[in-house]
Amino acid sequence: MSYSERRESFNRAFDGFFLWLLSRARAFISETGELVLFGWHATKLSFSRPYRFEETISHMEFIGNKSVQIIALSGFFTGLALAFQIYLGFKLVNATSLVGPTVALGIFRELGPVLTGLIVSARAGGAMAARLGTMRVTEQIDALEVMGVNPIQYLVSPRVIAAVIVMPLLCGVFDFVAMTGCWLITVKLLEADEAQFWFRTSLWLEPFHIYEGLFKAAVFGLFFAVICTHRGYTTKGGAEGVGSATNRGVVLSMVMIIVLDFFVTNLLNVMYAVKAALW
């Protein structure tokens, strides 16, 4: 192969790669825009008549009440495992009195909202995508539209609002149960000093840290509900389409929760620093 042929072949491959990259970027931007508009539309419709109180409460029950047990179980064992690992490490430097506050900060600021988000998006988010996807392929959404009922307001808005309200509550349950697990293993099983445990925890843990976690949980609730309902709402095809929509909805929600966590944490810390500097 001559030099010019090799160069032409390279140029062709580069052009192909560039075009592929461009088309992927375009698809990503278009999909993100569609998702943002969908979420905005659903949120806006929550505040216009007719208000969907009954539906919102019913979805709160589905997302919240039916997730409490799994959240409590996960929270308890997360608290136990985290406290045990930290205890083993801190014992080497004779700092077991810091196990409580360290676990508390980790749970309240990070693990509580993130794990709650991941668990609830897998359970309730998957169910949302599957339900709406089934309704789409069996023409139930078309039926709503023909009946003069806005399907986004009837199906999506209550789910989004319910997720935003319920997620901080579930996160609170996770935090409480995880701290109970931490206390149980550190104080009762490993016999660390209980007074030190609570004193250090109350000294290190500020209300801001609790609010930060609860706020993050609400943000994760908004995102997973919008993503999963959007995937379900735009399902195409039959049973295969529903399965694919559910899968994509849950996977994207989980990835988004982990990515978002970083940005929300930074944003909140900047805001906290600004607030501290001003007042």
Binding site: P50, F53, E145, V146
Partner: protein, 292 residues
């Protein structure tokens, strides 16, 4: 929604609108003039549809698959906007209406979907009550229940099935519930989307009879049936419109179709006749001959 303060002004306005629609005096319920539709700006799915659907009669829209029947139906329902042309429903131009206006307009429609499209988490009665809960919020729950039960009886569903979920019902029962739901708001226009597709001959006849009996029961209602079942069309239609390549090939009475010289119509009719002359379940060739 029950339990929510009713917006009486809006509800009475909607009820008045429905009443006006039923008393609409024009000869045609729907007037479609030179409607064209393209999704990509190049290929036209509808290539200039002209169709006037007479008020108070049954019009069947037929055609082979891919001729634009469903797209036309979506235009009539306001779910799609035409690229050009005009669509008047009960005298009102709908092509330029916004979502809110279309939502109000759609209360003039009742629609029976191909597979009934019942809400699978609601019982038969709840399905029929749903449009009432949404659009007649000043009605008491008892009144809604009474209307729902009445509509279910009108569509021929046995009372013992009223509290069954769609998953517990047969295809025929689901169609009856779907029809009762379509009738819930006493609509001016009833639309049937492929109501007999995929059904056995007995059920097909049952659904056809149901369409006719419902039409006779609700005097003044305009019925539009989208189908590719020519014989079903001939059994029930006052008028038939045949679509081909996004245009109306022929609009007329069933007799006009039998007499037509248009090649495609003749082929469609003869295929329909051949299919009709196939023995049905439990039928001998002798029965077919006697039918012939």
């Amino acid at each position: 929604m029950v339990g929510q303060p009713p917006n009486r002004e809006l509800d009475s306005l909607m009820e008045k609108q429905a009443e006006d629609a039923r008393n609409f005096k024009n000869k045609y319920a729907i007037e479609i003039a030179d409607v064209k539709k393209s999704f990509d700006g190049k290929e036209f799915v509808l290539q200039g549809i002209d169709l006037k659907i007479p008020k108070g009669e049954i019009t069947v829209i037929i055609g082979y698959s891919g001729t634009g029947k469903s797209v036309l139906l979506k235009h009539i329902l306001g779910l799609l906007k035409p690229s050009s042309g005009s669509i008047k429903v009960l005298g009102e131009e709908i092509a330029d209406k916004d979502v809110e206006e279309l939502t109000k307009l759609r209360q003039n429609y009742g629609m029976l979907f191909q597979y009934a499209a019942l809400f699978d988490d609601m019982t038969a009665v709840e399905n029929v009550m749903f449009p009432l809960k949404e659009h007649r919020r000043d009605y008491s729950k008892a009144k809604m229940l009474e209307i729902a039960r009445e509509r279910l009886k009108d569509s021929g569903l046995d009372e013992k099935h009223f509290n069954k979920l769609p998953a517990e019902m047969s295809g025929g029962m689901r169609k009856r519930v779907g029809l009762a739901r379509a009738l819930a708001l006493d609509p001016a226009i009833l639309i049937y989307d492929e109501p007999t597709t995929g059904l056995d001959p007995v059920l097909t006849e049952m659904v056809d009879n149901l369409i006719v009996s419902t039409h006779n029961l609700k005097k003044g209602t305009t019925s539009i049936v989208v189908s590719h079942d020519l014989f079903a069309a001939f059994r029930i239609a006052d008028h038939v419109a045949m679509l081909d390549s996004g245009k109306v090939l022929l609009f007329g009475t069933p007799d006009d179709f039998l007499k037509s010289d248009i090649d495609l119509v003749k082929r469609f009719v003869s295929k329909g006749v051949r299919r009709e002359l196939q023995p049905k379940d439990g039928e001998s060739q002798k029965d077919v001959s006697s039918r012939e």
